[in-house]
Symmetry: C2
């Protein structure tokens, strides 16, 4: 089945959707995006993602050039045209076709949809191993297209027989390249970093839900706190919750998936099914 994408106002077959090479994403890596999923043709947490998309665009001095309603209409067109029930949708705004290859101009807008295998049960069948790496993302609160360090580190992660990387800087834990990070302390407190991170929509939903049963702290998380944590997990739109049972080769807690991750996975599963 042929999928379609938007490039600005043109609905084009995904295999032909292109940007001219003068675009500032190609020339200078300059762009922002957001990513959400659909379940049964229904966008999940779309308002939250559109809020963040418009905020990222404004912070990077990019004019969206569409109202929120116009974007919604384009998404609806794509969802109807492509007919993929469960999908990932990506909206990107680039620096545009700059005459001098450097100065911002009218942005280009890209909207893509692809099938996405989203978690189909609340049960956690998988856990991951993390390595830590000293790095502070530039402009961390903005969802830019800059994944230079993350992709560059792929072989380092592979050689360590790990699944992903956790960034820290000056002893303070931040995030994974495409996920937020949480621990459960020995005292049973749920902790996630407060600053210098991309604030994920799933992170926000977890923080809202967790307070019903747990003490929650959004604060500076020190690297050494990982050693005494009972549980650790990462969260993202695609992954929901993935327990990290090993960090830098050492087990987290007893090395097994913990009860807080299991409970929050069930909560999130229910929340997402009800959302839209």
């Amino acid at each position: 089945m042929e999928l379609f994408s938007f490039v600005n106002d043109a609905l084009v077959p995904a295999g032909q959707a292109s940007l001219l090479i003068g675009d500032l994403a190609i020339q200078r890596g300059y762009g922002i995006f957001d990513f959400f999923k659909t379940l049964d043709h229904r966008p999940i947490y779309l308002d939250d993602h559109l809020d963040r998309f418009f905020a990222s665009a404004a912070a990077m001095r990019l004019e969206v050039g569409k109202t929120r309603e116009q974007l919604r209409a384009m998404l609806t067109t794509l969802i109807e045209k492509n007919g993929i029930a469960d999908s990932g949708m990506r909206i990107e705004l680039t620096g545009g076709y700059s005459p001098d290859g450097y100065t911002l101009t009218q942005p280009n807008l890209i909207i893509q949809q692809q099938p996405l295998g989203t978690p189909v049960t609340a049960e956690l069948h998988k856990s991951i191993r993390l390595i830590t790496h000293p790095h502070q993302r530039q402009l961390p609160g903005i969802k830019t297209i800059d994944y230079l360090m993350a992709i560059w580190l792929a072989p380092v992660i592979r050689e360590a027989a790990a699944d992903d990387v956790l960034y820290h800087w000056n002893g303070v834990v931040a995030e994974c390249p495409r996920s937020n990070f949480f621990i459960v302390t020995a005292e049973g407190v749920l902790v996630t970093p407060a600053r210098d991170i991309l604030k994920g929509i799933t992170r926000m939903k977890i923080l809202e839900a967790a307070g019903a049963r747990l003490r929650v702290e959004v604060r500076e998380l020190r690297l050494e706190e990982l050693r005494s944590a009972k549980e650790a997990f990462i969260t993202s739109t695609t992954k929901h919750i993935l327990p990290a049972t090993q960090i830098d080769g050492l087990p987290v807690g007893d090395g097994a998936v913990g009860p807080v991750a299991r409970w929050l996975s069930e909560e999130l599963y229910e929340l997402v099914r009800k959302a839209g």
Copy 2:
């Protein structure tokens, strides 16, 4: 006159040269490039630029997919076809059409040529004003396409009535986004930062030439040393040497273009004319 570009092996009109949106430069800002100029149809310091291009590609785990001789042949084709005597040529390698939008695959190669007004005399007719900004570029020794911070700072530079920004981190001066930075100390020593910078070809030529008359130090340059400098200037392929006569609103030395910048501008002008 219609110009041509290469996109991989295809010679295409520049106005139609494009990449599919699945490319990792568009999706993730992942790519490297190099830029050199031609004078009278002759590439300047091409071997140095190709050395750096291959080094950047290897450091970013990107396969060039062409030998140096094949790249030279493509450049020659473009130079003959486009017929621009004095030009800037840009070779870029991106992360390629990644099936999952994240994992590196076979890179895409782009070669572009555009008219470039290169300095036509050795005389310095212009000086610039800099502001300083705390920032350390990620992977600074590699010529990646990441200019996120530089372009983001454009309005900040404009509001300060300045022309460019000088990065520093932990009190140590590094570079401008597209230029290297030098000072002449009160004692007449030429100093340029040693580490955590992109090592420019023009910087290298200046360092080679300056030793004939000056003491040259390639070392850590502290921010506070700017206050007592007699001269400051930036260097790049496009700009050659541009004196910075004001930094953060304060004059450098007596605020006029100094004799070292004038002399090195003449030296560089002669070197570049003889190069090829």
